[in-house]
Amino acid sequence: MKNYSVFDIVGPDMIGPSSSHTAGAAKISFMASRIFGLDIVEVKFELHGSFSKTYKGHGSDKALLAGIMGIRHNDSRLRDAYIIVKGRLKYKFKKVDLGEVHPNTVRITMTSSTGESGVVQGSSIGGGNAIITKINDIDVEIDGEYDTLITAHKDKPGMISKLSYALSQEHINIAFMKVFREIKGKHAIMVLETDDKISKESLKHLKSIKGVYKTIYIPKGGH
């Protein structure tokens, strides 16, 4: 049986009304915008299951828009997302059926000012907790409860040890680490959850490693 932290019970502090439909939704899109990493000019939210049925009633639409603009689940500006978004980016909400996924799932397609686009999918799994389940076509599992580093790199021997060595040089302790890939020998995504914050310099350094295409950093959820 699980031992719950007192902060699982008292907390999170959040913008209402619903931990799963509001706070969880904001967390998903916040992480999505971080993962995309570019400045977003257009976004499409495809809502599945309970999200598609009740998103307006619970303010999931505002939460999703807020998260995309970098506003966190406990930031009072969330309520005014529709006002803040004006002139900043184009958005669209669509109800869809994504098949056998968690009932509170959203697929977010983001387009940058340079015309690049990316897709991130995530689910709100209850109590304000959220997980990212897909980045483009690769299945992942990221919950943002730790400081999280995501790397996209070439799937070849030695990459993982190079990256973890580089982190140890920066005195960053890895709590958990997982590697995901689409096709053997092509792209891989590594998700590293760390006990320490990762500085801009460290990120740059990691990115300079040969075979690393991209590094993304998601600071620990707004606690």
């Binding site: 007192v6 913008i15 009304p17 309520r79 109590g127």
Partner: protein, 292 residues
């Protein structure tokens, strides 16, 4: 030091001469690897958010309304300040106005602390502020109480549930009320032997309560359920402080609550399809808000 139930915690505290708060603190330090200062600082922040949501919520005219409900906390609070008599007394009326205030802030997309959930977020702030006023408790004491409330909730989550979707409203409002009652008794220096009677009494009083939100929104009946949650904790605190006990121990009540929750059909577990959600008026609201 992770224990499965309250009786093992009580024994451990007695053997080691710890208060329930000291136990909660060491539990959290070892589980989350945070320092004492980090934990207390975070709880102080939560307490501030709770107090702010009460303040915001009492300004009823501001911040719009819900999809169904109007904001009423301010009116209830005013009625406690007026020279008229209140049927349940000034202290009680003020306390429920605090609970309503937080709940109404939540509904109108304001900032709250889920405790244990957003739907039941008014209970702990309502009870805590009321006790602070009546007994002149310090904020530090309230922070200790929040940790105690967290431990109570963690026991319920572990052995039953704190989610309406799993265990019905007894698991949400019932648990919030039990957490507030036990924490309240702790803050009033009641001996650890008696503290959990408050938890048992509150849970028993709401045993079997279903989760039936109209149109699936956390508004009706949730707004007023927060008021009963507050009142339930306060009366339990008074009963225990005058020597009453629960004949059935807390741990067994939690187990019973779990079994009752398991027997609940899904229409009574947050799907918005049973209970008052399934009345003529409930269905009318659903259509009005979401269309056919």
């Amino acid at each position: 030091m992770y224990f499965k139930d309250s009786s093992s915690i009580i024994k451990y505290c007695n053997d080691n001469q710890l208060s329930l708060f000291e136990y909660a603190l060491s539990y959290e330090m070892s589980l989350s690897e945070l320092s004492k200062e980090e934990i207390l600082t975070k709880m102080h922040e939560y307490l501030d958010v709770m107090k702010n949501s009460i303040k915001e919520g009492l300004k009823s005219s501001k911040g719009g309304k819900g999809k169904i409900i109007d904001r009423k906390a301010g009116d209830v609070y005013k009625s406690a300040l007026s020279s008229h008599k209140n049927a349940s007394g000034k202290t009680m009326v003020k306390a429920i106005s605090y609970g309503l205030a937080v709940m109404e802030v939540n509904v109108t997309m304001g900032r709250i602390v889920a405790a244990p959930t957003a739907g039941a977020s008014g209970i702990i702030p309502g009870v805590f502020k009321s006790l602070q006023e009546t007994f002149e408790l310090s904020d530090d004491k309230l922070v200790e109480g929040l940790l105690v409330a967290g431990i109570v909730g963690s026991l319920i989550a572990k052995n039953a549930s704190i989610a309406g979707a799993e265990g019905g409203c007894q698991a949400e409002v019932g648990s919030g009320s039990a957490m507030a009652a036990v924490a309240g008794l702790y803050m009033l220096d009641v001996d650890i032997k008696h503290i959990f009677h408050g938890g048992a009494i509150t849970l028993k009083n709401l045993m079997g309560l279903i989760c039936d939100p109209v149109a699936g929104l956390v508004e009706v009946p949730c707004q007023k359920r927060n008021a009963i949650g507050v009142a339930n904790s306060l009366i339990a605190i008074d009963m225990v402080r005058s020597g009453m006990e629960s004949y059935i121990p807390f741990d067994e009540v939690v187990e019973a609550m779990k079994k009752v929750g398991n027997l609940m059909p899904s229409c009574h577990r947050e799907t918005g399809t049973g209970g008052i959600a399934n009345t003529e008026t409930g269905i009318m609201y659903n259509h009005k808000i979401f269309g056919e």
